[in-house]
Structures are given as C-alpha cells and as structure tokens.
Amino acid sequence: MFQLTELQHDALIELFNQGVGQAAAAMSQIVREEVTMSVPLITFQTRTEVAQALGGSQSRRICAVTQIYEGAFNTEAMLMFPEDKSLKIVQLMLGQTVTMEELSDMEQEAMSEIGNIILNSCMSTLANISKKELHGSLPVYRIGTSDQILGSVGTQWDGLVLTLKIDFNIEKHEIDGYVAFLLDMNALHDLQAYLEQYLSGIVS
C-alpha cells in the first residue's frame, strides 16, 4: 500500500492550503466579498471508499467539475459537492435570492469556473514544485451518483484517490466540499518524488 511519510504528508497539506488560498483570493475578487478556503485534511483512499464516503447510504447526487492534467504527472482532478451544496455556493456567489431545483446552463458554467479556479490553483503549486510541464484541460461539469462520477464500478484500476476536504466560507456560510485527484501508481510515485525533492530543497 502506498504511503507518504509524515513530513511529505504535511508538506502536501501546506501546498494545497497555499493553492486554495490563491483560489479564495481570486474568488473574493470576483464576488467582492470575503471568501476563505482551507484544507484541514487529506487522505488516500480507494475509489470505492471515496464513493461510499461521499454517497452515504443512499445514492445522493453529486455535482462535480472535472479536469484532466497531463505532464509532470497525470491525473483526473475533480471538485465535488453534494447537489444541494452546489446550489448554495452558486446562489451565494451570484447573489441570487431565488433558488431553482437544479443548476441552469449558465449556473453550471459558473460552477465550472469555480471548479476551474480551485483545481488550477491546487495544481499550480504542485506544478511549481515539480519544475516540469503540466498541461490542464478545460473543466467539464457532471452530475451523478458518487459511483458514476468516480467510475468506481466494474473497472479495474490500481490507483488511489487523493482527497482533500475543503472548508469553503463565504459570507458566514460554511460549505464543505471535496477535491479528489485520481492517481495511478506511476502518478503517485511521481508526486512522492516531487515532494521529496521539494523537502530536500527546503532543508538544504
């Protein structure tokens, strides 16, 4: 089983907190209100474990914004919220008083942009420490059960999901979200190597 050292683990949390800090600043600028985000914890889990944790006992619907990154290491990154939370975030970001049952097309695009900002910010800190090329795709909005989003049924895959819990705070409303990176064994070892390189850079 893959595992980071305690030092690597702490470094990764710190890097992600830098990343979401930048994302929060960008979002504050857009809504002209204070937005704060932090990453209190990260975990490595199998897809099935993540799907169960997100989906709960019943198969509630999850909104996801996904992006593919290729280069320094390859990963599919996703920002996920339970459907009602995503409605809440878009409502707060857009300052709307009327809530619909589902996100409209234009609201889905706004949600995609929120995902785009958060994912790119998280990945840019990792790209920086890798000192290698990393190419990011445009965001895609998806909605479905956690199994559907994570593709965890019926396919064989040797990787792990790196999950960050994100505390999202906008105008006194606290909303929990999750960012997940699907990492195969190669990507996991690349990530660990970059962290080691980063840590040795700090020490020396």
């Binding site: 809504v31 695009e109 900002i117 840019s124 990393l134």
Partner: protein, 344 residues
C-alpha cells in the same frame, strides 16, 4: 481535418478562411502577451481592425483588465499551461465587445463566455517557436442563453412571490423578509452604505382581539398592513408581516434621519386610520409603537444582532408609553424625547 493530399499552401489558405468565417472571437497571444492573431469576428465586435491591434500587448489593449480574472487566466495559460473558463455569470462581459454598431454607440456590451487555452506548438514549427508558449482566448456570444435564463428566472421569481406573501394581509411574509434582509444586508456591507430597520408593533392588540373578536382583529391588521405599505416611498423598501401583530420594514441606503422620518409617517398614517379601540391603554383608537435601528454593517455585525437592536428599541418605545418611535442607540430620556418620541 482537411484532406492530407492537399498542398500545404492550400491548407493554409483554407485555415485562414475558416478562422475568418468562424462565429467566435479568437485572439492568439504570444509569451509576451502580444496579440498575434485577431480574427474577423473580433474585428466586427470590438470595432478594432486587426492591423490596429497586432503586436500590441494584452494590457495595452485592455489596461482595465490588469490582474483581473481574464488576465490571470492568460498568465495561467502562458506560465502554467492551464486552461481556464471565464463564465458570464461570475464575470459580467469582461471584454468591450458589442453586438452591433448601435450597441457600440450606447456602450451596451455583449454577454460573453470566455475560454483561455494554452496552444500546443506543433513539432514541425521552427524550434524558437516551439519554445514560446502561446495561448488562445476564445470568446462566445451567449446573449441568447442569458436572456432566456433571465426570462425563466423572472418567471420563477413571480411564482415564488406568490408563496412569499402573507396569507392574511397580502404584504410580504416572514420568509420573504428573511431573504430580502439577507441580500440587502450583504449589499449594504459591500457598498458600505447605511441600512435601516423599523420594527412595528400594534399597541394593545390583544385587548382589541379579546373585545372585538378575531374577525375584526384580522380586518384591523389588513388595514394597518396596507397603510404601512403606502408609507413606503421606494421600490427597494420592504414591509413584511413579521409575526402576529408585528411588522418589519427594511430600508436600504437609508440613514437614521430618513428612517426616523418614515417611522413617524407610519405612526401618523395609523392614527389617521382612526380605527376605534375603546380598550386601548393608550388612546381611543388603534396606535403603533416603533423601534428603529440604522447601521452600516461592519465585519462583526450580523442580521440577528440588527434585529435584536430593533427589538430593544421597540421595547423601549413600549415602556415609554407606546404610540411613539424610539431610535436604537439614542438616549430615550430626556434629551431626544422631543424629537424621537411624540404622542398624539
């Protein structure tokens, strides 16, 4: 793709023509953020010819966008190779683009969805080109979709308004008040402007109900609600039925003086109704007491805090003999009694 057996110069001519025909805006920037492509769609909607902009940097063309979302996205594409989406909903028309000459004159911008993407530099380009990152800014006109959603939203608001009216009096209900208060509170905080609340309570209403019956009590509340609504002057002001015989007015962008004036108007409007109340502890007719609070919401103020302050001012008004107005935070006796409290 274009058939492979076409000669390269034919392919190039065709690609040029396609870039000219395509119904989206295309701007290509080099690593120094200089414009190297500005397609026909951009010429048409920006009212700048490509000759006028080629070679200029992004910030020379759009200085007001410095460090904004679009500029950051371009830097993300050129520095990190990341693609970005800039949605119309979160970024209202970032680029000065216009549907036609008429809107160019009025300055009404086209609704835009913007994609910023790093460009893969093909391996058959000279090496000095391959090393230079470039990005494509693609702009789509989303006015049709935006207008359609605006109509849908208006319809939804209309439907919701029906569920947000108080069943008895027809004025906004408590739920509507909560929503309105939330959005006005945030707006006031953002724009650093004063927000006022007036909490209103009908004096000796229990005695009225007990002696005249609930039917008459209901009629009385309907008349009071209508009179309070008449007293409001602006569309952004809201009067809601807050609870039994309690009402609440939300007055955005209103200072303490304006709120006090309106509160006094409300008080005299209710007197003018001259609804007989032989069992009132105050007068021979129905009267109201009012508590006023005005604040520029600061970081540590909350909505419950503001409502609590209005409630305390109202309580003061009740203790000061009813049928009067008390402004929160002002000494009630004796200094301002004359200005804030008046009976009859």
């Amino acid at each position: 793709m274009i058939a492979a057996d076409n000669a390269p110069n034919i392919q190039l001519a065709l690609f040029k023509s396609i870039v000219k025909t395509v119904g989206v805006g295309m701007i290509v920037l080099d690593a120094q953020e200089r414009v190297i492509l500005w397609n026909h769609w951009m010429e048409q909607h920006s009212f700048y010819s490509s000759e006028a902009v080629l070679g200029k940097t992004f910030l020379e063309l759009f200085p007001e966008l410095k460090n904004g979302r679009a500029h950051n996205a371009i830097q993300g594409a050129l520095k990190n190779n990341f693609a970005s989406l800039i949605s119309q909903n979160l970024n209202k028309a970032p680029f000065p683009l216009f549907a036609n000459a008429g809107s160019h004159v009025t300055g009404e911008r086209m609704q835009q969805a913007v994609h910023v993407m790093p460009i893969d530099m093909p391996a058959d380009l000279p090496p000095e080109w391959q090393l230079q990152r470039h990005c494509l800014v693609q702009i789509t006109d989303v006015s049709v979709a935006v207008n359609r959603e605006k109509q849908l939203r208006e319809l939804a608001v209309e439907l919701q308004n029906q569920t947000l009216a108080d069943g008895l009096t027809g004025i906004p209900n408590r739920r509507r008040f909560d929503e309105h208060m939330e959005s006005e509170f945030r707006r006031a905080k953002r724009s650093v402007s004063p927000l006022s609340l007036i909490m209103i309570d009908v004096d000796s209403f229990k005695d009225y109900n007990d002696n005249y019956g609930h039917q008459k009590g209901d009629d009385c509340l309907i008349m009071i609600a209508a009179a309070l609504a008449r007293a409001l002057g602006r569309p952004c002001d809201l009067i809601a039925r807050y609870g039994g015989e309690e009402f609440m007015a939300v007055l955005p962008n209103t200072n303490a003086e304006g709120a006090l004036r309106l509160a006094n108007t409300m008080r005299s409007e209710i007197q003018l109704l001259a609804i007989e109340h032989a069992f009132s502890k105050v007068a021979q007719h129905i009267t109201i007491s009012l508590g006023v609070i005005t604040q520029i919401p600061a970081h540590n103020t909350t909505i419950p805090h503001m409502i609590g302050a209005a409630d305390r001012a109202l309580y003061q008004a009740k203790r000061s003999g009813r049928n009067c107005v008390v402004v929160h935070g002002e000494p009630t006796k004796p200094a301002t009694t004359a200005s804030t409290i008046s009976t009859k």
